[in-house]
Symmetry: C2
Subunit: 125 residues, 2 copies
DNA sequence: AAAAAATATGAGCAAATATTCATATGAAAT
DNA sequence: ATTTCATATGAATATTTGCTCATATTTTTT
């Protein structure tokens, strides 16, 4: 009962439905899970990274190829690949001085598809 | 053949696999679709908005309730609700001076779930 | 009609982020 | 060994973005 006490002063309004607030709070996942979830979607939330993932969807590619495909700097691509690598969405293999990147997650397509379903359904109206 | 010509100068490296680049380019969705896709994920890519969506998952709530639940300003919540509204992820109904928000998309849960699957699988290692 | 309450919104600010530029690293070719 | 090429990376810059603060709007209450 006591841990449900929150800082009401932070909100410049009164609680309207204290019961709803309490029951919803009990069902909320841990702060950390929600943070991680947002972090993953943040990675997907950039056009360049989306393009890279879509490209790797079709084929394994080296950094230079991706840069040419997207008409962007090698450096910019390399920076973004690092982000994707840290999120464990892509993996790489080295062959001499060339580094080939490919998808490292079976869920990427499913996440993509759900996003696409949303925007296509939404635009139907 | 001509439209495949791109500005190679922008990339400070030579094309390594021109065939791969061309075939991948042919399979790429339109620029606009990719932009929209990134936009949707961008909406999911914020902890506050993720929390709001999770809360609305459990129950319809008014702005003030959400603010108290998340221990944040009414203004901050209202701003974020606008973003969610524009992305057509939430809808609202007015009852007097109180505005109740709720989810406006059956796909939200599926998108969430895919994201969760990714982070849980990833953390298994 | 006036005050109060819930929500919305515009401007400003601070933090985060994507790209550029210069340069480092590492492997292959000469 | 030296040069060349593919990639990585740190610093700087420009843009985006989330929150705060003040205030507007709308509905209810008195």
């Amino acid at each position: 009962m006591n841990e449900n006490k929150v800082d009401f002063e932070r909100c410049d309004c009164n609680v309207i439905h204290e019961d709803v607030v309490n029951s919803v709070r009990d069902g909320m996942p841990h702060e950390e899970s929600l943070y991680d979830l947002a972090e993953i979607f943040k990675v997907f939330g950039d056009t360049t990274r989306i393009k890279i993932l879509y490209a790797l969807f079709a084929s394994e590619m080296c950094v230079c190829d991706i840069a040419v495909l997207l008409n962007m700097t090698q450096s910019a691509i390399s920076h973004q690949l690092r982000v994707l690598k840290q999120a464990r969405l892509v993996k790489y293999r080295k062959e001499g001085k060339v580094v080939y990147y490919s998808l490292d997650d079976e869920h990427v397509k499913q996440i993509f598809d759900q996003g696409l379903i949303h925007i296509t359904e939404r635009n139907k109206i």
